[in-house]
Structures are given as structure tokens and as C-alpha cells.
Symmetry: C3
Subunit: 351 residues, 3 copies
């Protein structure tokens, strides 16, 4: 006890100092650019999510490792953390163990379906509206509808992850979340505004889960993913990619969403995205076209072109142009699509 | 001036770079587990507080050191900083000097009484309801009742700390806070809801202060602590610990709280906690039993058992079970105690 | 694709680890002291802004560098980030390139005018009311009146910076911001409270811009700066400094503000500040006197004296005394000045 008491007052403030520098890696990126969107003034914004993270591993012996990762997400144009109601560690906050059995993590992060799908997006899974990942690729699906307003659409709090190791090119990934309430907004669903199907701060009606599998064989890859969220909306995606020549990669995803648990009509949405990446020395051309078709509503159609030029392994500049013909009502009812053009030019620096 | 102006624009952004990596240590921990409490759905939560901190010392010569510490507290299950209204550096934010005279710090942190008492808790001073530190050990005492709603019960803003060095096994610790208001909630006390004794954003009626002393002699240790908070509630604790055999440590605390300044009746509370830690190789058994008895109200009784298994010096897994028969009214009036069982299983990783 | 998919699940959490420690510097400072102001209780507060930052450079070859900086600002007495509505990275969040052409940065930070003016303040540009920088030196000017209430007066979001290299002692600096709205408060200006000239969340009526030039020649230096903010208030400053003997530096600034775009009467303000720094071994004496004179309103007059004593290159203690005869109405109308005395004693530790 002597030691613990001495430590308390005189040295307590500095316990753990010895191993600190070797155990923690700081990483992140800053991505800022000029954005011009139809109908808006010129803005300074981002193309990639901006991160500042802390992570590390510890070797426990016998091939076992402990690992953690905490990732801040922020907006460099204004210096704030990401939009209202998002947590400090919006990127992720997870701790876990990895070994021969694979990897188990617990905390908050993207569920297995979302992590896998992002790898088949021609814009590297970036959340920019110029890319496809957060809207068309997932057919408009939201992973956590019972989170507070303003939350991210593709993250789970209170969840457990399992990822297998890659065996013969195959990998299996899964996530299960608790039903616990998280201070979220009401979801009217099959109820009424005064008596919503999911009142504010509801628990999930069933445990959300998310699974995916990937297979890779030289120049070809394939994926399948499925997820059910807290209001029992379901989504699945089939994806494939191929590199017919070394510098070219073609990608295709096909996705179906079923919102039948909260929406008796117009509950199905399908979507597909075709993408290409073509490397030319330090430059890379990105191209994509996709459609999202909610049952009984107008199609969303998007065409995007981009160019990235690497100044180094950690720094590149980019130029994007996109045209999206979108549905203007959030209710999913029939609407006249309006076209939005967006042009980005900017810089991305990783550290 | 030439240098300062050149520095301003071209190099100003990078001043101080040379010494940065040697001066700052990053440290912290991630603790996540499954929690099952009577009457609640299964949750993912924590047992220990989760921290991400930055600290360092500078040798000033002649045995004098400057030191600082900034500690973020967060919830890894949701990625947020600790509950609403808690500051970014909820853990602490202090700077000071240490030398032959002891250590002086200024800023925000736990007062001397709280820091000392935590060392006599069988759950290592962890804030989990399975442990005793934040409720029974301090007889329900709140260090800062004039802080904003949702604030921590055991921290002071705007304070100065002095800790002596350990001399012949004895150490003295003290903290004094200013009276300054901190945007806090009203405390009705001897007033009325429309005319509270301490209106919102009140200054303290007297300077809060907190003192403690510890004595250690081989296998035995003892402590005494006293604190008066911003509404002049007082608390004192006597504690002792002994290690009759090498792997076993027994602890006892006895505490009295006097809320007479804000409560004319039922103002006294007494509490005691008996605890034991027993080490078995990489495993450790924790056990504790305690009672809190507010004057004129029903007793709170708690029994807890726990087990920790170390995978390494920085990583352990844990399993806890606790039964607490608690008072159900916040007013301190007589109430029928209801029992809450809690079971935790999880992992703690330090970095 | 194989690599990217393997990376995704098993190693994705740790991508970028290899270069992390070399790429990021952590820096900052903690400044805490006792403050006694006329009419207030003794407080614990700060003299300098408190920072915790992350920054780095990357050599891109051919003299080109990428650079970034993210700087948290916080209050060590309470552990919070700086006042309500300020972003996490209040200090700055910028990324850019530097080379033979100078330096270009994009993001959020102090505009060129503010960065230059601060270097001619006898209190090192510190934001303390004991110094002159944030009020008298800029004639009461606010760089971003359309930011949310509680925002800093001397920072721009959504801006681009250009700084030339120093050539023959001369340097040119400039900043341009977009017009985009930032969730700010209404500015009544020439409108009415129900129909303000700039309603809440207004865009700027013209692109804000800020320029400055500095010239240094041995012991003498000079500056000129000009800025126009989002509501088209304009400010310019002429400044000079000279070191007649090695340890003494004298400074003078003269500033004019024109708020004619939002205020038809009493729209002009002029101000001047005279300062001196005198080094005596590890000690330094600071002195300043200044006046601010809004057209048609009473003058603000301020006299300040300070002493700093360095315990090391990174740590100093300080003592300040200041008397400010201030205008008591925010409207700028004639008012009876009341004097406020302020005394600070504290410690500043950089890391």
C-alpha cells in the first residue's frame, strides 16, 4: 500500500509515463478544398472526412494482441468537430483483442456491412456527395435511425465486432449491437406523430446486426453484405471488382433496401453503382455512374468524374465534377428530380 | 524584432517544434464491458473511467520541476466525452511546480480529500457502481454542488493544490478553491424554490477547502481526510489498511457527512466500507461490503465481488457482481430500499 | 484490391501507423494565475490563451513542403474548451503548402491583419485584458461579426492565406474568406431589430479580406495592415518598433476603424498604443499605455505594467497590474467611463 499512496499525491499525476510514447500513435488527415454547388455560394469545405486519431497495439504473447483506436472527426474550414450531436470520437472508439482466432472489438464504429461496402466505392468510400458511398451504394440506407438528430448514418454505438483473419482469400466480418436507447429522435414509422412507432429515446425493437464476406483472387474480388438496423430496416449488397489491366480497376455494386418494418408502402429501394479507377503515374482518374430507385418514387441518377495527383505518399491534390439528379422530398414520395452539379478542388494531407 | 516577425508568418505556425516530442506524454485507457443491471436491458458500458491524457515534466534545475497534465474523459461505447456539461478535460487540467518543498498545482482536478479516499477503496477508486468510492465511501458527499447540472461529484475547478513530499511515511495534502461562480444550478437548501439559499450561478459562501494526511509503515497504512464544499457541507473520513499476508490487503473506511448549512433536519450521514483485495498470480479477487446511513432515513447496503485477470501489465479482463439495497428518494427522506443487482464483464487496456 | 480488402477489416484500424510518430508534433501551453479585478471576487484564470496542438510538415522534394496545424484552446481553471460556441480547434485548423513561392494555407485561423498586429503588442499579443492586442490595438475592431455569439473576435473560418517569404526584410501576407454563412447571430446595423441589416445566418455582403506588410532592418521594424470583414467594417493599422539599446524594445501602433457600412453615425474609431519591453537577465519588464477614441463617445484609456521571470526556456512566472478607464455601453453612445483595475499573478508552462 505504501507505493500506491505515495503514487497518489506526488507521482500519481505521472503514472504510466514510461510506456506512453511507445504505446500510442497519432494519425489523421486534413482535407480542405473549394466547393461550388448549384445554387450555393462558393464554399470552403472537405471531400474526405477529417480525422485526428490515437491508436496502438500491445503484444500479449502467444500471437495475441490488445488494440485500441480513438478517432476525432472535425471540419477544418471552421475548426469544429463534425456536425451537431456527433460525439468527439465520431470516427470510432474501440478496444479489442486480435489473434489466431481473428479480431474482436467493442465500442463504437462502422458496422461490418458499411466497412465492407466502402471498399467497392470508386471514391475510396469518402463521404463527399461527389462519391457514391453514403447514398447510392447503400440505396439510401441508414444504419442507426434511433441515434440523436444529426448523427452519422453509418455508425453504431454499443456494439461488438468480430472479423475473421483472411483465409484462402476469404474474410468474414460481423457486428452486433445492444438494444439500449441512446437519446435518439422519434421515428414515426407505422405510428402517428403523436404516437410514433419508435418514440424518442426508444430501444431497438430487435438487436441490430451486420455481416459481410469478401473474397479475393488475384485481380478479382467479390463481396456480400447484409445489415438490419434498430428499426429493422434491412439492406443487402452484392459487389464485385476486377483489374483487367494493372492500372485499371472496375467496380460494381447492387443493393436492395427493405424498410417494411416502418413503412407499409413504397418500402423497397434498389440501387446500383458502376465505378472505375485508372492510375497514370502519380495521377489517378476516378469515374462513377449510379442509380437509386425507391419503389414508387423517382430515380436518383449520379455521374461523377475526378482526378487525384499525388505530391507524395501522404499528400495529394484533387479535382472532382459531379451531376446528381436527386429526389427532392425526404418522405420518399414521388417528386420531380432536380439536378445538382458540384465541383471540388482541394488538398488532402495525411499524418 | 526581425526574428519575431519572420517567425510570425513563415515559421510561426511551427514554433516550438523542436522540443515537442520529448515534452509530452500521451497516456490513457479504454475500458469497455457488458453490463446487466436489474430492470435494464443488456448494455455496453464501462467499469473504469476512460481517459486520454497529455502530460509532461520539465527539469528546471536545483531539483525544481515544472509539470502539467490535461486529461480527457470519454465514453467508448458512444464515442462522446463524459455526460452533458462535463468539460473536455474532465479528468484534470493542472500545471505546477515540484521540488524539495513538495508540489504545488493550480487548475482543476480532484481535491485532496477525494484523491486520498480513493486509495482505500477495494475497487481501486473506480467510479463503477459496483465499487464503493463515489457513494458509500464518502457517505454520499458531493464536492462541488454549485457546478452545472451533470457535473462530476468529486472535482473542483478554480483551485490550488499543495502536496508535501513523503517524510517518514507521512504525507500531507491540501486544496483550496476560490469562491468564484461557475454557471451552476440553484441549491434550494434552507430557502425556497423561488428564493433558493444558493441561486443559480452562486458564488461559494466560504472558500472550499480539502485536506488529508496519510501514514504508511510497511504492511500498514492509515489516512484522515476532511473537506468543506461550496455550500459548506462537511465530510471527514478515517481509513486504515493492512496486509496480514503478502497477497492480501484489507481496507476499512469510516465517514461522517454534515449537511447542516443547507439542511436543518436529517443533515448527518455516516458510512463505512470494509474491503479486501487478494492476489493469485495474474488474478485478483476484490470484495467489499458497506453501509451508508443518513440520519432519519433508511440505510444503503452494498455487497460486491469481483475478479480481475491480467493479460499483461497494461491489459486485464474483469468480472464483477454487486447487490445494492438503495434509498429510492433523492430528498433523503425515509424510503423503502429497493435492491439493484449489477453484473459486469469487460476489458481494460491502458496505453 | 486484395490488399485494400485485407486492410479494411484486419489491419484497417492501424493503417498509417508506420509514419505516425515522425509526422506529428504535439505542443501547447498551460497558463494559470490568480486574477483580482475591481468589483469581482478573487478568481483563478489565465493571462495567455491555453493551447494543445498537433502539427507537422512533410518534405515533398524540390523545396516544397506540406504542412498542417490543429490547435485546441481550453481553460485550465475549469477544464473546458474556450467559451460557449467556440470550435474544438479554436486556435486554428489549417493545411497548406510552402516553397519558394511562399506559403498557402486553407482552413480557419487569424487573418493576416490580426497576425501581424499582434507582433507589435507589448504583451506579446496575449488576449489578457491587461494587454492591448484584442481591444485598443485594433480600435475595438471585430474580424468576424457574422460568427455565432460568443465566437472569437479575431479569427476567420472558410479562408485562404498567402504569406510571401521574407525578401530583403519585407514580407507580404494576405487572407481572403468566402461569403458563406456560418450560423451566426443577426447584426441590426442600418436595419431594425425585426428587419436587421444582416439577419441570423447571413452570408457576407462582400468577400472579407485582410492584408499586411512588414519591414525589418536590424533594430527597426514597421508594419502596415488593412482588413475588411463580413459586414464591411474596415480597419487599418500603422506600426513601428525600435530597439535603441539591445535589451529594450519600444513599440507604437496607430489604428483607424470605419464601421460606416452598418452604422451611419459614430462610425469611426481611432486608437494608439505605446509599449516597451525591457529585458534584465531572466526577467522582463512590460509596459504599455494606449487610448481608443470612438467618434462621438468617451475615450478608453489603459495603463499596464508587467513583469515576467523565466524559470527556463519553457516556463515563466508573471505579475501584471493594469488600470483601464472604459466605456460602459456597448452601443458606442456617450457614457461615463468607469475604471477597472486588474492584477494577475501566475505561471506559464509550454510543452
Amino acid at each position: 500500500m505504501k507505493k500506491s499512496l505515495m503514487a497518489l499525491a506526488m507521482f500519481g499525476a505521472f503514472a504510466g509515463m514510461a510506456h506512453a510514447q511507445t504505446a500510442v500513435q497519432i494519425y489523421g488527415n486534413v482535407d480542405v478544398g473549394l466547393i461550388k454547388k448549384s445554387g450555393s455560394t462558393l464554399q470552403i469545405g472537405k471531400r474526405a472526412a477529417n480525422t485526428l486519431g490515437f491508436k496502438g497495439t500491445e503484444d500479449l504473447g502467444n500471437g495475441l494482441k490488445a488494440l485500441f483506436q480513438l478517432e476525432i472527426r472535425y471540419e477544418p474550414d471552421t475548426g469544429t468537430v463534425e456536425a451537431t450531436n456527433r460525439p468527439l470520437f465520431q470516427g470510432e472508439s474501440r478496444v479489442g483483442l486480435a489473434g489466431d482466432f481473428g479480431m474482436v472489438r467493442i465500442g463504437r464504429g462502422r458496422p461490418a456491412y458499411q466497412e465492407t461496402v466502402a471498399a467497392f466505392d470508386p471514391w475510396h468510400g469518402l463521404p463527399t456527395p461527389v462519391g457514391f458511398y453514403t447514398d447510392l451504394t447503400v440505396a439510401g440506407y441508414t444504419s442507426q435511425p434511433l441515434d440523436p438528430a444529426g448523427s452519422s448514418n453509418n455508425r453504431w454505438a454499443n456494439a461488438i465486432w468480430y472479423n475473421s483473419n483472411v483465409i484462402n482469400g476469404f474474410q468474414f466480418n460481423s457486428t452486433v449491437a445492444t438494444k439500449e436507447a441512446n437519446g435518439g429522435q422519434a421515428v414515426v414509422g407505422n405510428g402517428t406523430p403523436t404516437n410514433p412507432q419508435f418514440p424518442a429515446n426508444s430501444e431497438a425493437s430487435a438487436n441490430p446486426f451486420s455481416i459481410s464476406g469478401t473474397y479475393n483472387n488475384g485481380p478479382a474480388g467479390a463481396m456480400i453484405g447484409y445489415e438490419r438496423n434498430a428499426v429493422e430496416s434491412k439492406v443487402w449488397t452484392l459487389g464485385g471488382s476486377i483489374a483487367p489491366v494493372t492500372d485499371l480497376r472496375l467496380m460494381l455494386t447492387y443493393t436492395r433496401q427493405d424498410q417494411g418494418h416502418t413503412r407499409p408502402t413504397n418500402s423497397k429501394t434498389k440501387a446500383w453503382v458502376l465505378g472505375a479507377n485508372y492510375a497514370m503515374g502519380p495521377g489517378k482518374i476516378l469515374a462513377g455512374y449510379g442509380q437509386k430507385h425507391p419503389d414508387g418514387a423517382a430515380k436518383t441518377k449520379q455521374l461523377s468524374l475526378g482526378y487525384e495527383y499525388s505530391l507524395s505518399k501522404r499528400t495529394y491534390v484533387y479535382l472532382d465534377a459531379s451531376r446528381k439528379k436527386d429526389i427532392t422530398t425526404a418522405s420518399g414520395a414521388l417528386a420531380i428530380p432536380s439536378a445538382v452539379n458540384q465541383y471540388d478542388i482541394g488538398m488532402n494531407h495525411s499524418f
